[in-house]
Symmetry: C2
Subunit: 201 residues, 2 copies
């Protein structure tokens, strides 16, 4: 009966912590309620339901991640910025697997919330900003952003899913992949001339 002092933010945070502990897909309203010492139904005064909570966790994660990356890359450029960016990104994902997972599940987020959120937009800006040092023009810059995001996200997901055998430490591959990425960004290939019979429309 003593008021637990719930707010939307506190519920979201508890959900995020729980997601980090047990996995985003195993997040349940009941477990969040238990963690907060409150009955399930009480949560509905603060979040619309499980879907809504998930969306909020995703936005929280986007915010936190972009702050981390901003701090890590401040004042850096070129390879240093790239490495700092990627490392901050990966560290966040490893520290907060549940929240990270939240950002990658295609979930319906309340458009109003999404519009108000800074994280996602900030993340894009940071990425473009970081790559600016490589002097790519459009549309190459956009393609490079997508390549970078794909690689980071893919590596982290595969690593988290246990997709890399133990033959070689992921750490070393990670480092070498960043080298490769840096090299690639410095010598971004020109539009390639059609070649052989495979004409990919």
């Amino acid at each position: 009966m003593a008021r637990a002092g719930l707010t939307t933010d506190r519920v979201t945070l508890a959900g995020a912590e729980l997601a980090d502990e047990v996995g985003f897909d195993r997040l349940t309203m009941s477990a969040v309620a238990r963690r907060l010492g409150v009955k399930d139904a009480s949560l509905y005064a603060h979040v619309r339901g499980l879907e809504d909570l998930r969306g909020r966790i995703a936005l929280l994660a986007a915010d936190e991640k972009s702050v981390r990356i901003a701090e890590a890359t401040a004042g850096l450029a070129g390879r240093d910025a790239l490495v700092a960016y990627a490392t901050a990104y990966r560290d966040y994902a490893r520290e907060h697997p549940g929240r990270y997972m939240a950002t990658q599940i295609p979930t319906e987020i309340d458009p109003e919330l999404l519009a108000a959120a800074r994280g996602p937009r900030r993340a894009i800006e940071l990425t473009y900003g970081m790559l600016r040092a490589y002097a790519l023009g459009e549309p190459d810059l956009t393609d490079a952003v997508r390549l970078l995001r794909s690689m980071l996200h893919g590596f982290i997901s595969l690593e988290a899913a246990g997709g890399f055998a133990h033959s070689r430490p992921a750490e070393e591959s990670w480092s070498r992949c960043l080298d490769a990425l840096h090299t690639l960004l410095e010598r971004w290939p020109a539009e390639h001339e059609p070649h052989g019979e495979g004409d990919r429309t």
Copy 2:
């Protein structure tokens, strides 16, 4: 009462179809039972439960995907093989989003089943085989495999999650990313020398 002719494989297939339609995370035993015109409990004679079914779908997907890739890359080498590989990979993921998702969720698969499954092993072999044309030695080859898998998986996930704004068709970025990857593989950078304050201007 008319026998529905269930088998483990049929249940798995129904689950896979359902996952493709409604999303892997929304897959439920009840829905599979309904689709098969059978009571929930009947499924348990063929699969251990939801987790088991999920694992089986993941293995099915790995099999199907590797077959597709094998067919697509047969007889090709170099850039053609790379493009065929990547395209087959992506097409599979787009045609079967649920099954594809199944392969990326860190799920506990019965070790016995896993050992019997050909798909995952075959996929690795295909990847190494395809990259052999680029004449990389170990450990670079392993790193390149990881980079390739990361990029493909990341791109596909982000695309599926709606992560790319509409500013530029994903199709074009995809094509350019493959160009970039090809270039990178041809000129895989040597182990990089430690390098001052990132002043490569």
